[in-house]
């Protein structure tokens, strides 16, 4: 079944932007999406994965090795052939066990041949793609920790049941959750690169537009995909250009200073805020085809880079985004 085209997603601009920045620079460290059910969170993430061009991997490799990495995975893979596969999108079910996530002893081979082999888990499956976790706030803390570790290092190390395996696991981590149902510990939240808040569209026109597109997609998925193909291609070109630009994109010292001042003004804890802010600004600049990072880029990504790092004051109900905007106005307004 054809996926919903990314460019056909109505509204939700901040979420789409955050996902695009993460696609341009996966090292940004994952995107956390706060919001109610039924606001298109997983649709957007899936659509982005489906939009990206297929990847080439060694034929039959369980770890998704690139052809020039042949034989470097734990198996190691040997096939001289390579094949093209869609960008992986792994939807981690709530309550997944550690075994399923990081992998475990391959029971089949153990029973049949009595040999000790590793059966890769979902982390290996998500390599070079996306790992989406709905209701991450209800996931066990140690698993979230583990996932963030792997997302940051791009490598999964398994030391258990007499197995010692290390394999690549580079993916964009996307978590979603509704804060009303329980919150994520601040330590874990801080480790997410970007965070966005999605709201359900309240105006009727937007809702009608969403219904119209969903109905059209359901009626004839292929025709609908064809209709949006050109738009999706445009997005794809932006990502590809961004990926090329981002590596050598320079951020002037002045902007770095601004970023530091902004972090100080909103009292974002730790250095991660500044680093992510800088990275996100660079990602946005690259996405827009700019050769240098500008203050406007930095200001635009400030809410998504800092929102979840502010020290929370329960007795003060001002939202994080509002505090960041206020600080931006005071500093640069």
């Amino acid at each position: 079944m054809a996926r919903f085209p990314f460019s056909a997603i109505v509204a939700q601009h901040e979420m789409k932007l955050a996902l695009l920045i993460a696609a341009v620079d996966p090292a940004i460290g994952g995107v956390m999406v706060f919001g109610d059910r039924g606001t298109g969170k997983s649709t957007a993430a899936r659509a982005l994965a489906a939009l990206l061009p297929p990847i080439t991997m060694v034929d039959g490799c369980r770890y998704g090795c690139q052809p020039d990495e042949r034989g470097t995975c734990p198996d190691p893979c040997t096939s001289a052939k390579s094949r093209r596969a869609p960008v992986p999108f792994v939807d981690l079910p709530l309550g997944a066990t550690e075994d399923r996530v990081i992998g475990a002893l391959d029971l089949e081979r153990a029973l049949r041949h009595g040999e000790k082999a590793f059966e890769p888990g979902l982390l290996a499956k998500a390599h070079r793609g996306f790992l989406y976790i709905d209701e991450i706030n209800l996931l066990e803390d140690h698993l979230v920790d583990l996932l963030l570790d792997v997302a940051a290092s791009g490598e999964s190390t398994v030391e258990r049941e007499g197995l010692s395996v290390r394999h690549r696991a580079r993916f964009v981590l996307i978590g979603s959750g509704n804060p009303e149902e329980g919150e994520l510990r601040p330590q874990l939240l801080d480790r997410f690169g970007l965070s966005v808040e999605v709201r359900t569209p309240e105006d009727i026109d937007t809702r009608v537009a969403i219904m119209r597109r969903c109905a059209a997609q359901e009626r004839d998925p292929d025709a609908f995909a064809e209709e949006w193909h050109a738009e999706d291609e445009k997005v794809l070109r932006r990502i590809a250009r961004g990926q090329k630009l981002v590596a050598k994109l320079a951020v002037p010292d002045g902007i770095l200073e601004d970023a530091a001042r902004l972090c100080q003004a909103v009292r974002a804890d730790g250095l991660r805020g500044e680093l992510t802010l800088m990275r996100a600004a660079r990602g946005l600049a690259a996405l827009e085809g700019s050769r240098t990072g500008r203050r406007a880029h930095m200001v635009r990504v400030a809410p998504m880079a800092l929102r979840h790092r502010l020290r929370r004051d329960v007795l003060d109900e001002t939202g994080s985004a509002a505090r960041i905007e206020r600080a931006v106005d005071e500093l640069f307004g």
Partner: protein, 553 residues
Amino acid sequence: MSDLALGEALLAARLLALAPVQLGGICLRGGGPAREVVLEALRGHLADVPWRRLPLGIDDESLLGGIDVAASLRARSPVVRRGLLAGAAGGVIVAPMAERLREHVAGCLAQVLDGAGAFALVLLDDGANDERPPAALLDRMAFDIDLSAVAALDHTPPPATAIPFDAVATDEAALSALAGTSVALGIESLRPVLCALAAARAHAALHGRTALAEDDLQAAARLVLAPRATRLPASEEPPAEQAPADTPGDATDEPILGDQPPQDLVLAAALAAIPPDLLARLSSGTARRAGSGGSAGRKTRSRLRGRPLGARAGMPRGGARLALVDTLRAAVPWQGLRRTEADDNARIVVHKADLRVRRFEQRAGAVTVFCVDASGSAAAARLGEAKGAIQLMLAQAYVERSEVALIALRGAGAEVLLPPTRSLTRARRELAALPGGGGTPLAAGIHAAHALAEAVAARGRTPFCVFLTDGKANVDANGSPGRSAATADAEAAARALARSACAAVVVDIAPHPGAEARKLAETMHARYLPLPLADARALERAVTAARRAPASA
């Protein structure tokens, strides 16, 4: 009256049979025999697809498929077993006692519903009060019908010749009518809106129409949108407010609404189908936000039953269950060696050290019960402090998955102002207005706290009582004033609480901490904490510290 619910359920079953994938499924709440009638009807409509029943305690292997260990051992080669989800592809999954479905299972089902939607889900909800099936599932299925009030079982559906679902086209007017209705009813999630559109198309197909008619949209609004309403339209004229008294059937041909635009008609149909008690709950501000969010209570309850964690080494005794797969996993790497040692070629040699037992998550969070003396002049300030402390504690609650409740002592008795909750949003709303004043019915307060603590303990959580009082009781257990009787009653209540071994702390909030509160704490076997100038933060810190070390009291 109530047989209408049965008629609606039977209609929903017919619609579901026409578009099982688009509509996702149906949740049937309560109803006993009536539910059987609906299920029987649905079985009749969907006779030629697989039906699977979802066992409540299903494990991953049975749900998603995996290696069948017992069969594998017998066959000496791995036997792969198909999971229930794969077996139900294109069919129907019936989940009895859906209000107890574990989050994990619900998550797996939701994933499949989200994907190709390979099956229709029937949830049988036997929940009492607030217990409902996981919101993640309810959000993904079109129908949620309460059968608990159905009295008569005879119902003959009107004859209809259905055309294929795909033959029904949609139009702009229908989209905006349904979208407008969903906004007016405060339905945040967009999935129900899409389900409503599918339901309208199924309704048209059932009646042999290729275009959507007014009737179809109204049926969709009634069946799909109305049960999820979280508010009534802001500026609605009186007729709509009275509408719930009407029967859903009547609403469709109400003459007054004749020349109104379609959206209003659809909204009126939805409003007519909203149960009367929802109105009462909406006006008192305690209605559950159906379909989206607000499910902290349910979640916590299901968590209590324990989610399976991994296995650990240990003997399967004292209630611990053997984890067969993990045991084999532990044994397998050594088989070569052991076979040589034991000179036994035939069997898998399992040693005691290989045995693994299942572990279940025990996230039995703590419930802190605040019992606040709201009498006298300082009442407002004290309640304010308690309120602040509660919000601060809730902000931290995610660390320990703990909950907070509040009881106020005022006038002649005690009142539970905030039942145990984890949601900061809910606490904020319910703590917004807290009047104080009157005497100090300490005995009643201790009784109330005791009762709440026992209820909490019965649900597998650990209660912790915090009394904010100066200990000077002046209203006895029966609500009549009188210092000596009040003190005696309070002492008796405190002794009863002490016997229940519930951990407690008495925070003395008198300007000059005195003997009364100290004595109360002693009787109660509680910690005594003089805190004359407490603000919300100090109180929160003190209570948290006391709770962490209640044994040292």
